[in-house]
């Protein structure tokens, strides 16, 4: 397997050159240059397009050279297209084709350019183009004309959910005084936002701007509702991603729109920019240039005409001075992770020690601590592949099944309250079987999506329960729709229910189109108050809330499937999700599993894929997804490949670095970040360390919290430590709280186990061991290690002081055990 080359030499030279003000990686020579945007097709004479040029060295480090004096950009035919070096644009002069020759030092490249005939008019559509302007300029926002009463008599639907009404309002209302077809420039629709006449919303566009010109063209075409002319299909931003070395460095951005007739248009001056985190790069200035401000990773977004383009920016200081050692790779995950770390000059942490690794992998894979015996066995194992074997062993264990079935209960919402007893238990059993037998996930999803019948007998139908309305009588398709899209595709549809999503292209029509797949699912209440029977009625329609027309089932990509009259629409949707959208389905799922192991997804938050929420490692996510698909959608393979990666096995500590955390490094997985244990694992671990079982209702003592179906609600401990309400697709609450601290400190739960007549201390004292041996054993159980000399010194002093104060040795040891359970190291997975 290849590993990244040593960076030391390049880094030192880089530092020296950076001090000299030259791009930091010149030391190794440039090997390629790239002219962007690609595929420029200017729409006619006078059309222009901004460009940028990027140089790359032989280690794929990039530098922007657009303004460099060593750059030459020459047109093969200036009569067709000319180059304006000062403005950094290409300008079309006459229809035809030409080539642009670019050279930077010894490196050359060339790109073809086409100039079209401008007489081909671009027709403007209200429903697409004008509506988009109204949205991106904020006209139909809630503070302005989208507010309940509108502004000054001009009322638009909030974020444009009612196109027909808005068209009427603009063109026909108020005696049509907003549009003037004889003198289009006199239309109020133009004069107000350009502040030709007083406008409470201020000036939102100048007459030279694209938005103004678009509206003017629309008025000249007599304000049609829709049109057939070429429309913008995509917005793109270049560079797509960039690593900027050093602060206060400038990076120009270019935004281009691609049209349905193959032409392009420079949108750089027309977009609204936004930066996710302005501590990393500044918001683009009027010429579309960002400046690096601080170390980190962020996304730049550009919005126009209803579309979004993004670019990922990473900023690093000049050489961090890290000593790099060649990093071995265990599998493709490491390839992607270490490659990116290499590009930003961050060295991954060392490998976790065996002790650190065994505690972590037990907690993550099997939801419990390793016993002192298991630790010793692992440490003594001489085989070089012992970690891989341990992983295989854990993934085969019943503990793994119990641990992961709880996670799937969260995913599928095995809600404790609505279903009550029998159905909760039946769903849990079904999920347990799914995990144990490693069912292909596409099959599982199909079963969930198409389930019918009595849910005590056909448990997959429990999936529908939380989508019933609050009086628990009828099933609400609108409630299940956002759950299905979030859970299986990672797409949040929630806002689209009432109005169009302001940042993305999801509309209310998308929402209702998806909801229509569930509209024929009905529920009967059976014998016994909480018995529910699901069936597909094979007829009935969902009515659109605004138009009151029946909504045809429509996929999120806009296509309407041909569904035979009596077919189950849910089957069609299940096919679309697991087959047509296979890659996204796999991405969303792999991302959720990744988030379980690393505390954050490659897309984070994990259930929120959108163009304004890019993955940190898009290629890794894709390869993980394909790995999942190729394995037959088996979770065991995902677990195996993640747990076996060196990335997962990196230490959380490195004594050679200072303790100030490197947030950028953490986002790129340079170390394992310590995390809190989930509630069930916490409780089970307390049981393990103290040796005292926890009582769960009538379950036999010794039952794990993961195996309990709590019909009266979960144990208080679990609630306080983040057991989720499973009626919505919320993530578990991972944050610490005052209630947690109080509970660990004062609760009867902790006290009961620490002071129990029969617990770990009793056993150890019965064996006549001395204090040090007892403390060592407790440490092995809780931390998988021995106390440090300083810790042992504190503890032995404590035990002495306790006895001085008149308490017994046993009591002193109980207080020591209390302190161990309350310690952060116990409560964290590191």
């Amino acid at each position: 397997m290849r590993g990244p080359l040593a960076w030391n030499v390049a880094r030192v030279i880089g530092v020296l050159l950076a001090c000299a003000g030259v791009p930091a990686f010149a030391g190794n020579g440039w090997v390629s240059i790239q002219f962007e945007p690609p595929g420029i097709v200017l729409q006619g004479a006078g059309a222009s397009q901004k460009y940028i040029v990027t140089a790359r060295d032989d280690q794929a480090h990039q530098a922007d050279v657009t303004g460099s004096v060593d750059l030459a950009v020459v047109s093969s035919n200036p009569e067709i297209v000319a180059v304006d070096r000062d403005k950094g644009t290409l300008v079309g002069h006459a229809p035809g084709r030409a080539t642009i020759e670019i050279s930077f030092g010894d490196v050359k490249t060339s790109v073809p350019i086409e100039v079209r005939d401008q007489s081909h008019e671009m027709t403007v559509s209200f429903s697409r183009d004008v509506m988009s302007i109204l949205t991106t300029k904020g006209c139909n926002g809630s503070a302005c004309h989208g507010s309940p009463a509108g502004q000054n008599g001009f009322k638009l639907s909030l974020f444009g959910y009612d196109v027909a009404a808005d068209h009427k309002m603009v063109v026909a209302e108020n005696d049509g005084r907003r549009v003037d077809f004889d003198s289009p420039e006199e239309s109020l629709l133009l004069q107000k936002p350009s502040f030709e006449v007083a406008h409470g919303g201020g000036q939102l566009m100048t007459p030279e701007s694209d938005a103004y010109r678009t509206l003017l063209a629309w008025l000249e075409q007599r304000a049609p509702l829709d049109s057939d002319g070429p429309r913008m299909e995509r917005l793109e931003m270049y560079p797509r991603e960039r690593i900027i070395v050093r602060l206060e460095r400038r990076q120009p951005l270019v935004v281009v729109g691609r049209f349905s007739d193959g032409s392009t248009r420079d949108m750089s001056d027309e977009v609204r920019f936004a930066v996710d985190n302005e501590a990393v790069v500044s918001s683009p200035d009027t010429s579309g240039v960002v400046t690096s401000k601080g170390r980190g990773l962020t996304t730049v977004m550009a919005r126009a005409v209803g579309k979004v383009a993004t670019s990922q920016m990473i900023v690093i200081d000049a050489a961090s001075g890290m000593e790099h050692i060649e990093t071995p790779e265990n599998n493709f995950i490491d390839g992607h992770i270490f490659n990116k770390l290499g590009q930003v000059n961050i060295a991954p942490y060392p490998l976790a020690s065996d002790r650190m690794f065994i505690r972590r992998v037990f907690l993550d894979a099997a939801g419990r601590l390793p016993s002192p015996g298991e630790i010793e066995e692992f440490l003594d194992d001489p085989r070089t592949d012992k970690r891989g074997r341990l992983i295989d062993h854990l993934l085969d264990s019943p503990d793994y099944t119990s641990h992961w079935l709880v996670k799937f209960e969260d995913w599928f919402r095995n809600h404790q309250y609505n279903s009550q007893g029998r159905t909760n238990a039946s769903f849990k059993k079904w999920i347990r079987q799914m995990v144990e037998e490693d069912w292909p996930y596409d099959e599982t999803v199909r079963q969930l999506q198409t389930s019918t019948g009595d849910t005590t007998v056909h448990p997959a139908g429990n999936f529908w329960h939380p989508a019933m309305d609050f009086m628990l009588r009828t099933f609400e398709p609108r409630k299940i729709t956002p759950t299905v899209t979030r859970l299986f595709l990672g797409v949040k549809l929630d806002c689209a229910e009432c109005h169009n999503h302001p940042l993305e292209n999801l509309t209310q029509d998308d929402f209702y189109g998806m909801a229509a797949f569930f509209t024929r699912l009905k529920v009967k209440h059976g014998y016994g108050q909480y018995r529910r029977i699901w069936y597909d009625e094979r007829r009935g329609e969902l009515l659109h809330p605004v138009t009151k027309e029946p909504v045809a089932p429509r996929f999120l990509d806009g296509t309407t499937p041909d569904i035979p009259e009596r077919a189950d629409r849910r089957e069609v949707l299940a096919d679309w999700i697991t087959k047509t959208q296979k890659l996204q389905f796999a991405r969303a799922t792999a991302n959720k599993v990744w988030a379980e192991y690393f505390g954050r997804g490659l897309v984070d938050p994990p259930d929120d894929f959108r163009s304004t929420n890019m993955p940190t490692h898009p290629d890794l996510l894709d390869e993980l997804a394909r790995h999942f698909i190729d394995s037959g959608f088996r979770f065991s393979e995902l677990h195996r490949v993640i747990l076996n990666s060196r990335t997962y096995q990196l230490s959380s500590r490195d004594p050679s670095r200072d303790s100030e955390p490197d947030r950028l490094g953490e986002m790129l997985y340079d170390r394992y970040v310590p995390r809190k244990l989930p509630a069930e694992v916490m409780l089970d671990s307390i049981v393990q360390v103290t040796g005292v079982a926890h009582r769960f209702g009538n379950y036999p003592l010794g039952t794990s919290s993961k195996d309990v179906v709590a019909t009266n609600g979960p144990d208080y401990f679990l609630t306080v430590f983040g057991f989720p309400r499973r009626d919505i697709l919320a993530q578990r609450d991972k944050s610490p709280s005052l209630s947690q601290a109080l509970h660990m400190m004062n609760s009867d739960t902790i006290r009961g186990k620490v002071e129990a007549d029969q617990n770990v201390l009793t056993d150890l004292l019965d064996q006549d061991l001395d204090d040090q041996a007892i403390v060592s054993h407790v440490f092995e159980r809780a931390y998988a290690r021995e106390p440090t000399p300083a810790q042992w010194a504190s503890i032995s002093r404590f035990i002495a002081d306790e006895q001085q104060a008149g308490r017994t040795r046993r009591r002193a040891l109980e207080n020591m055990l209390w302190a161990v359970l309350n310690s952060k190291e116990f409560q964290l997975n590191q």
């Binding site: 809630s142 989208g146 507010s147 309940p148 009463a149 909030l158 996710d276 985190n277 302005e278 501590a279 601080g294 309305d469 609050f470 229910e497 940042l503 984070d604 938050p605 890019m614 940190t616 959380s652 500590r653 004594p655 303790s659 100030e660 955390p661 970040v673 310590p674 809190k676 208080y716 306080v720 919320a730 944050s735 610490p736 709280s737 005052l738 209630s739 601290a741 109080l742 509970h743 400190m745 004062n746 609760s747 009867d748 006290r751 300083a790 810790q791 504190s794 503890i795 404590f798 002081d801 306790e802 104060a805 308490r807 207080n815 020591m816 302190a819 310690s823 952060k824 190291e825 964290l828």
Partner: protein, 421 residues
Amino acid sequence: MTRQIDGPGFSRRDFLRLGSIAFGLNLPTLLGASGRGDTSCIIFFQNGGMSQLDGFDPKPDAPLEIRGTLGTIPTAVPGVHFTELLPRCAKALNEYSLIRSVYSDQAIHEKAKQYIYSGAKPGNDLKHPVYGSVVAKEQGARNGMPPFVVIPRKDIAAEAGFIGSAYDPFITGDPNQKNFSVKDLTLPTGVALEEAQGRAKLLSALDAELEAIESSPLVDSMDYFYQKAIDLVSSPVAKKAFDISQEPDALRDSYGRNSAGQGALLARRLIESGVRLVTVFHGGYDTHTDNEEINKTLYPVFDQAFVALLDDLRQRGLLDTTLVIALGEFGRTPKVNYSAGRDHWPGVFPVVMAGAGIPGGQVIGSSDARGGEPKDRPVSIEDLGATIFKKLGIDYTKDYHANGRPVKINKDGTPIKELFV
């Protein structure tokens, strides 16, 4: 990607600089925040959205499908009527101000609650801190009591958002339960304070090694809450304050023996002991079906609890220094739906405000003939927020920071001048 500030929002170094604060009463505010804050706040939250037409703003002249079948009654203010479900509030109108023209634009519970409970429109990437969290951050703890308390359960809208989870509320549980006590507030029986102190010192020693290496917001957070827990446990004020059984039965009856009533009573107790902002969440208002049937039992509960609270506060001389608010996240549709219910309606809805110098007997603004839109004196959620912050002595115009950007907790809201006389 969404970037929130996790953790308490300050570093452990600040902690250590202030010295040991364990086992101390009358805590100084942790960041040396300047807001002294003499006015406390109780918010009665009608969870789910109260119907304006069935409560504070009936329209007896509207068609049947809008006005419903409830009767109306006169109030202490001539010309002003409520429905028959709020007799006590009607009689007590001279003690508070009613705003009938509040409007929002959020129709989803979670977003609408976040909006009205923080005064700032919820964004896609930023969660604004709710009022209690801002108060907790700016004014800090008093008497060793948690500054921000929620009764009875955690609500998804009641979070500190971008200012950090250290300012999340403390949750009490349901005070209407028999033998109510806040869980884990006292040392286990048999563990003396001195013993607790001793083992806490050992705990510090055990944590020292990890804390030296791992300086993350998570570890800082855990540390922060641990210290706060010690403070609470060592405060004699706290144990008493949460002990509602010390209230006479007659008083407990007068509030109403239900979660809302006992919650309001506990809120008064907590204000007295130094809590700065308490919110009582009263659920059940989301009447998509059988609206009137439900309201007939629900609204009188509110009616009793709220007026009992005002009376109680006044009798103890606390009303002048306590801002009392009753609100929900939106109103309900003017037109009754096919399930005899009313759905979400942010178009217009009422908010009640009392105490802290707010004049009584005042009705501000009005809604249109069908109770759907504000007719005059529309009051935005931002205006409401500015009003609340101003009453509590908080500067809502200054910049906070989140996602690397300066951010305001209130966008151009104007305090409602009629409430400051």
